[in-house]
């Protein structure tokens, strides 16, 4: 039944699950949850909406506050939509080597951008945002890396939707960033399917975006508990792009770089099973990477090594 929505915020979540029987033929069924179908085109709409509404409900966020967030793109774009509809100005701290489409989208949605040094990667954006927020308490920083509303959005949304749609889930695969998707969705799926294997696909970063002077500059998001992951698998840019091309070629599905990594891991883990159901979470579509060189590049790794992709 078709209905109307009162705002885009009401259209966050309830994303479709599609079977990838051409990408992974055989007895194991693989489904992708298409988070690119959220209003701004990524899974981060769930997180942005949940973080802002939780802060409003607790009284921590009041009208007139300015929002600040470190993000290499998707969270910023999602926050920009939520902030616009709720009337908060937003500033995003973005690594200088984030993709041009993301930067442009942020500006079009009305966010201000502060750049952190590209060679410091996303850790540099986190560091700069934390310093800015500390220096000026008038900022409100949702801070997806430490905000419990992030995994909760996936527990109540992503995970609950998958559990309602399928009567069996043997493996969950999602990309590892803040850990929010894996923690929240994994926890909810374990309630319905106690033996589910929760698997993280993790990007193998190019040397140029690691940007840490020492290991002490490293960062483990407070919401991420690696103990709760059953598998954590590194995926190269080249493997991600090969999977993206195969998804497009076999299923007609244009997915983002992190979804390529997730699809790659889903295929590996499906091959370990003789039957069952693998669910992968595709965080966004590939629309923001249309102009990227990697689609045609002969040396995929080289074409991607200087950019923060997810």
């Amino acid at each position: 039944m078709l209905t109307t929505a009162d705002s885009l915020l009401s259209l966050v979540g309830d994303t479709p699950l599609v079977e990838l029987s051409r990408f992974v033929p055989g007895p194991v069924r693989v489904y992708a949850k298409l988070e690119g179908q959220n209003p701004t085109g990524s899974i981060k709409d769930r997180v942005a909406k949940a973080m802002i509404e939780a802060a409003e409900a607790s009284g921590e966020l009041e009208p007139g506050r300015r929002l600040l967030e470190p993000t290499s793109g998707n969270t910023g774009i999602s926050l920009a939509l939520v902030a616009k509809l709720k009337g908060y100005p937003l500033t995003c701290v973005l690594p200088a080597n984030a993709t041009e489409e993301r930067r442009r989208l942020l500006r079009l949605y009305g966010a201000e951008i502060v750049e952190s040094p590209g060679e410091e990667g996303s850790n540099g954006a986190v560091r700069m945002a934390l310093a800015l927020a500390e220096a000026d308490p008038s900022w409100f920083m949702p801070f997806q890396y430490a905000n419990e509303a992030n995994p909760r959005a996936h527990y109540e949304g992503t995970g609950a939707e998958i559990a309602a749609a399928l009567d069996r889930v043997d493996v969950l695969v999602a990309g590892l960033g803040t850990g929010g998707t894996l923690m929240g969705t994994g926890e909810r799926l374990r309630e319905s399917f106690p033996d589910v294997v929760v698997a993280a696909a993790e990007p193998l970063p190019g040397d140029h975006v690691m940007g840490l002077r020492s290991l002490a500059d490293g960062y483990v998001p407070p919401i991420l508990d690696v103990e709760k992951l059953d598998r954590k698998i590194l995926v190269s840019n080249e493997e991600s792009v090969a999977a993206l091309k195969k998804l497009l070629g076999t299923e007609g599905l244009l997915a983002g770089v992190s979804s390529g990594a997730v699809a790659h891991v889903a295929r590996l883990l499906a091959a370990e099973l003789t039957e069952g159901v693998v669910v992968c979470v595709f965080a966004d579509g590939g629309w923001k990477e249309i102009s990227a060189d990697f689609w045609e590049a002969r040396d995929v790794e080289r074409s991607m090594e200087r950019t923060v992709w997810w």
Binding site: S122, L212, L215, I233, S258
Partner: protein, 89 residues
Amino acid sequence: MTAIRIPPTLRNEVGGERQVEAHGGSVREVLEDLARRYPALESQLFEDGELATFVNVYLGGEDIRTLDGLDTTVDGLPMILLPAMAGGC
């Protein structure tokens, strides 16, 4: 012999090499051998005998923290060391 890929952050400690080699049957033995060859790595890799918080070690592409940790059998698989990084867009 296990081939170990070294991240830029730790290359000074191994004389600038991108990849080095070390011996051992378990991840712990390989990392201890590595720290013997390059003593400056010791304090970077270990905290109280356990793997340091901000180091991720992958064997055959899988994080040893979701395998058997430092007790994971190496089995001829290549090893990658990476710093813990914030991701997540």
